[in-house]
Symmetry: C2
Subunit: 457 residues, 2 copies
């Protein structure tokens, strides 16, 4: 049975084969129809007094995807000034962006931030220092600000992805809200939006608790807030045994709470959410080819060496994330499907081509090897790694072992496959490097005395 | 007391401050004197019948460092065809390179590989398939090949960095040696070099066992081998409580075994080693600045937010690696030194500026937070992350959150600080991106019927 996360996918083995022959492996392939349908799902979330959806572009910041997603009606959640700049270069106006960052803008960054705010960017203040640095400008321009709250609790797929509890540093901690608000009030700054992001993969119970806590903060501390931003963290199912967040149920819950809030206070809150993974994760496929096969002795593993690995999808190494695998023969036949094991399935370990033991697509959170069942691919067959639309191209050490950033293509709804990122060249990899100045090199073989006054580190 | 790994370092707090004011943080700074002295140490390893040292450029492939290191007399260990190309662009001839890769060369790659071998590159065959693909060329040109053996045992700092045992796929597994050798013999190919790499961080006992095993393989299977390559994996101490490999003792042990081998067989073996981390790890410093400070409640942590993190040093997130921290005040005073705690030390968690909970420099191998003792830095002070010369700039997801690749500079032995990599610009980040073709976009809001003949994945 076709898993839910492939419900809208229009990718076929034949398209894989044709694209591989045309562009050469490895490459990322994004399915437009999946993205469009996921945007539609999120935009259809139930709400009480209006909904704005910001796409968390850190998940995948490519120009074409930004254009596609914003064309569906989503705005953009940016995590850095550079993301705002990048979105603008893709044609997205600043008034469709919210900026939530750990950065502190100095110099040109500060000038730019003020310019972006002037053009309509929503600045989501995350610390007292951020507030203080923008205070004069915001007060003078009479610009309201958003504030990110650290709610003291959190959820997440792993300890290192837990954004809400004491283990993370994001936002104004709940114990500091009064102090930071006093600072804002003293300068006449209005906080018209409250933001809490609890973390990726949160279960529905935690998400509902988050909604309750945030509305409590909002009622207690933020009399001017008109918008409640629930952040992102809609869990997506990448594997057949995983469950995606039920955003319909979450929307219904939020609607009910926002209506109750209205009945208590007379305030109509606009709702915002910031999905990233939920929009693009299952729209992305990393198409690789089998370079080699090895068995490490009788008690060893069956290794399948692919022509892409950690330099294109580091999530298994960083977080022990699992991705679905599909095997397509070199002549375009589907041999193995993640949720429907075919004949002759055996346990294999899929690894990349980097000179790094961690370059594996089959790791657990503890770094152990977890072989996976699939029909044995032959040399030169294609192995497609699914669920690679989010935090893969965006968060990989592209140039490790001096490999290039790979081609990215999109499968349009009409069946066309178009390039949206050309492969990086070797000249581009080294374009900012400067040689060692030779006049200095001559001295390196002579032993210099270390100046005794050097206060060595 | 100054730890051993800073013995040759000429970096001073004043140099940090001046460089930071000139180039802006964050940036990587490499200490030339440390690199030169580490090269000298490795080149001075005891040996019986000659030694060649290959620098494992995957650790740090920057042009200037390649030029500096090869100027000291080291050759280059390349892990991909692209690394060979990159080293050549840095001015290093192919006859000073050895190539050990998981790649299978097709098309242009194959043509190039033959060209490089013709120019003197040593090809270290790692699988039967690699041998078969190069066999005709090697036989016709009468070029001897090297062979990497998978010795069936290994060591490493973590499961995912264990390159020698059944958990890794590198090299011709010992159980396959006869079969692969038969293939070589049938084609008249001479294997004149045997290579085993056991893995990073191996303890001396494992390393010695490796030497014994490799010489046993060599004696049993490789009558034509003239060179024994022991790979890399010299453990380097990044922290004061860590011990570096005693390469003098390892060299003495290898010398003794190679002499015994000579007495038994009459064969004089040339020795090779391939250090990467050992040469550059402690020569590298990531200079960051304190952006913000936060405390997450009474039972929470003291967070120090730096202007660089996982996008510049991902090793703590990937492997739980520890790095030394130094705090330098914004006016250039050393406040805190890793191996000599100063007054008012407290436990802090150093994190970066990415919108990612895992963006921390204080993680254990299990992803837990491990706060570190240091004198409290103030806003805008410098925090220097040491031990970042290897696998940091080379293996980081530079562009996560759309941050640029950062400036790299080198502190010359004469005290000059020179730029060896200019910072990446936003235009460069997006230079290969193509926009969505607009003629297609118009259709995205119309619901298309899925063609029923689509064999959906």
């Amino acid at each position: 049975m076709q898993p839910q996360f492939l419900k809208f996918c229009r990718l076929t083995p034949e398209i894989v084969k044709n694209a591989a022959e045309k562009f050469g492996t490895p490459f990322y392939l994004y399915d437009e129809n999946t993205i469009v349908e996921k945007c539609r799902q999120v935009l259809a979330m139930p709400n009480a007094f209006g909904l704005t959806v910001h796409y968390a572009m850190k998940a995948n910041p490519g120009k074409a995807l930004l254009q596609l997603i914003t064309a569906q009606g989503l705005n953009v959640d940016t995590s850095s000034l550079n993301e705002a700049r990048r979105a603008f270069l893709a044609g997205i106006p600043y008034d469709r962006m919210i900026l939530t960052t750990q950065e502190i803008p100095f110099g040109q960054d500060r000038t730019d931030l003020e310019k972006y705010i002037h053009a309509g960017l929503t600045y989501n203040v995350c610390s007292k220092r951020q507030l203080l640095l923008i205070a004069d400008y915001a007060a003078a321009e009479n610009v309201p600000l958003s504030m990110r709250i650290h709610p003291g609790v959190g959820s997440g797929e792993s300890a290192s992805r837990n954004t809400g509890d004491k283990y993370s540093s994001f936002g104004v901690h709940l114990t500091n809200i009064p102090e930071v608000l006093d600072t804002a009030n003293a300068r006449g700054i209005v906080i018209n939006r409250v933001h809490v992001h609890i973390g990726s993969g949160g279960d529905p119970v935690t998400w509902r608790e988050n909604i309750d806590r945030e509305l409590m903060f909002l009622e207690k501390y933020f009399p001017d807030a008109e918008t409640v931003n629930f952040g992102g963290g809609f869990k997506e199912a990448r594997m057949p045994d995983e469950d995606a967040a039920d955003i319909q149920a979450l929307g219904e819950y939020a609607t009910q709470r926002i209506l109750e809030f209205y009945q208590r206070t007379g305030r109509k809150l606009h709702m915002e959410v910031e999905p990233g993974t939920f929009i693009v994760a299952n729209a992305g496929f990393l198409v690789t080819r089998v370079l080699d096969k090895k068995r490490t002795g009788k008690d060893g593993f069956n290794f399948i060496i692919l022509d892409a690995g950690m330099e294109a999808n580091t999530r298994p190494l960083m977080y022990g994330s699992r991705h679905p695998f599909y095997v397509v023969s070199k002549d375009g036949q589907l041999l193995s499907h993640e949720s429907e094991k075919r004949k002759n399935s055996d346990a294999f370990v899929l690894v990349g081509k980097c000179c790094e033991s961690g370059d594996s697509q089959c790791l657990t959170k503890n770094g152990e090897i977890a072989p996976r069942l699939l029909t044995e691919p032959q040399l030169d067959d294609y192995v497609i790694i699914g669920g690679t639309g989010a935090y893969c191209s965006a968060m990989s050490p592209y140039n490790y072992n001096s490999h290039p950033q790979y081609t990215e293509v999109i499968l349009r709804r009409n069946g066309d496959v178009q390039v949206i990122r050309k492969p990086q060249t070797m000249e581009q990899i080294v374009q900012n490097e400067l040689p060692l100045e030779i006049s200095q090199t001559n001295s390196t073989n002579k032993r210099q005395k270390i100046n005794a006054s050097y206060p060595i580190f």
